[in-house]
Symmetry: C2
DNA sequence: TAAAAATACTCCATAGGTATTTTAT
DNA sequence: ATAAAATACCTATGGAGTATTTTTA
């Protein structure tokens, strides 16, 4: 029979990559931990950890199991918390936002958000999608505002609205007034750094994007991309919400719309599926949607 | 420390409303079960079960805790399953649909759905929202097609599309060509039986619906409502998807649209947040959306 | 050879069992 | 009076400890 204890130990080993360190973290001896892990692996009929290297790593099966284990442990923690404090409201909300949304949505949305949460204990934090999802899983974050879809066991999403993409090109360049996604070539686009979901979205729009892309410097922000485009170094994909503040006012940049169906990203919220303040999260979503510029 | 064992026993007592029966179900003695429940209650610092009546019932705290416990147990079961079978595809899909959607969406969507799942082991089942959610939680159902929002710990949703409401009234009655939701009076509407989410949606549209409603016979289906309206017995709220097959062809029924913003229900999918075949579920959602009549 | 996980074994905390009492209809 | 849960007490499983061996970078 699987026990929570086993899952806790598994999560600890996954975190530390080291049996001894994990055991210390769990305040037990290393053999006890080894025994529980072995028990779990027998129970599941599969090896979860690869002990061959100097650092303990996850097997493929481990990669599938560990996030589920973490989700379960979070759910148990939530259950305890609900018992201790009742169903939580939206006080002390910890919100995470991806960098390609934060500067465009937060300024307008913050007042509305504060009206919901009350001033106390509200904290915003900017990071990329995968980081935010990790933080949601281990309960250092309550909600993340990001681009959907995300698909993680134990993490639930709420779609808010579509944010269309436009092409930003140097004004000097000859362009059609309406372009088609099939006109996009991956090697002609300026892109963000690896890890930014916007980069992946841009690439997936380009015909399969498998063309051997020449080495690109990845920009760290849309505002960098804007100045690159303005300087005539290339064109890039811009989400609608970024147009006003970064691109549309610059005479050196031409904004080109896509022929329908317009490519777009879905902006939404992600949160632990056990987080229980779902009504409050829905409110938060409405506040963000309502305060969105050019709604 | 909370254990899965305790949660299992709690779930069993919640299900049976009886310690002895639950113990039998868990294949242990009644005192052993009592002990674990007591342990859990101490651990959580709250009484979960009310033993005063002839039947054991849940306290308020119990009502909050039990669904979370069930979600955790399902997540553990899923984890085992993933270990045993790998990440499941969308084979053997068990789909649940609410009665106010099934007849209108399924006929068109079924071919596309079967194309995804393959013919084998696909089963559809019609029930009301609360039943479907229970079935999803205890893993007798994989996905439910219903009206959002639903808000349950451990259950995740995917919004598909908006389904607008129209008013269906006897053709003889004088009506404006466009009406406003504020014109709706709860006591003038023919409604479905208690438990149908469409009933609640209709009521919530009427100015707070707290007016003392005269005793209404609740209809068991939209087709019953259609004949009542056709017979001149009253008016009712109809979702757009039901218009074609049930209402629009009947000369005795007048369909009236609402002034913007149109009231609507959101049609979507619900599934366990641990179900892991999320890509497949997304596919399913797309298939349903695409095959929707009047898309 | 040095660091780290597995193995061997011992011990005790606790889940579970039986018998019985208490409680509430 | 009876059904059902709580309590008392005993047993034994399994989780944790220490000491040691095996493994591999």
């Amino acid at each position: 029979m699987i026990t929570l204890r086993q899952l806790r130990y598994l999560a600890a080993v996954a975190e530390h990559g080291h049996f001894g360190r994990a055991a210390e973290d769990c305040a037990i001896s290393q053999p006890s931990l080894s025994q529980q892990i072995a028990e779990l692996e027998t129970e599941l009929g599969a090896r979860l950890l690869d002990r061959s290297g100097r650092k303990v790593t996850l097997t493929d099966m481990g990669k599938a199991i560990v996030p589920r284990a973490q989700a379960i442990l979070s759910a148990v923690a939530d259950l305890s918390k609900v018992a201790a404090e009742g169903e939580p409201g939206l006080h002390s909300l910890r919100l995470g936002v991806i960098p390609t949304i934060a500067p465009f949505l937060l300024p307008a949305a913050l007042p509305a958000i504060r009206r919901i949460t009350g001033d106390a204990g509200f904290r915003v934090h900017e990071a990329m999608t995968h980081t935010l999802l990790d933080e949601i899983r281990d309960n250092t974050l309550d909600v993340a505002l990001l681009a959907l879809p995300v698909s993680e066991p134990g993490i639930e999403t709420l779609a808010l609205f579509e944010d269309r993409f436009f092409l930003a090109a140097p004004a000097a360049r000859r362009m059609k007034s309406l372009i088609d996604t099939t006109d996009l070539k991956a090697d002609e686009l300026l892109l963000l750094d690896d890890g930014h979901c916007l980069r992946d979205q841009a690439l997936s729009l380009c015909g399969d994007g498998t063309g051997d892309r020449r080495e690109q410097f990845g920009a760290t922000s849309l505002s960098t991309l804007a100045s690159l485009v303005a300087a005539g170094l290339g064109q890039t994909l811009v989400p609608a919400m970024a147009l006003d503040s970064l691109f549309a006012r610059d005479k050196r940049i031409r904004i080109v719309a896509f022929r329908k169906p317009c490519p777009a990203r879905t902006v939404g919220l992600a949160f632990r599926s056990t987080s229980s303040n779902k009504k409050a999260i829905r409110q938060l979503g409405e506040a963000i949607t309502a305060s969105r510029p050019r709604a």
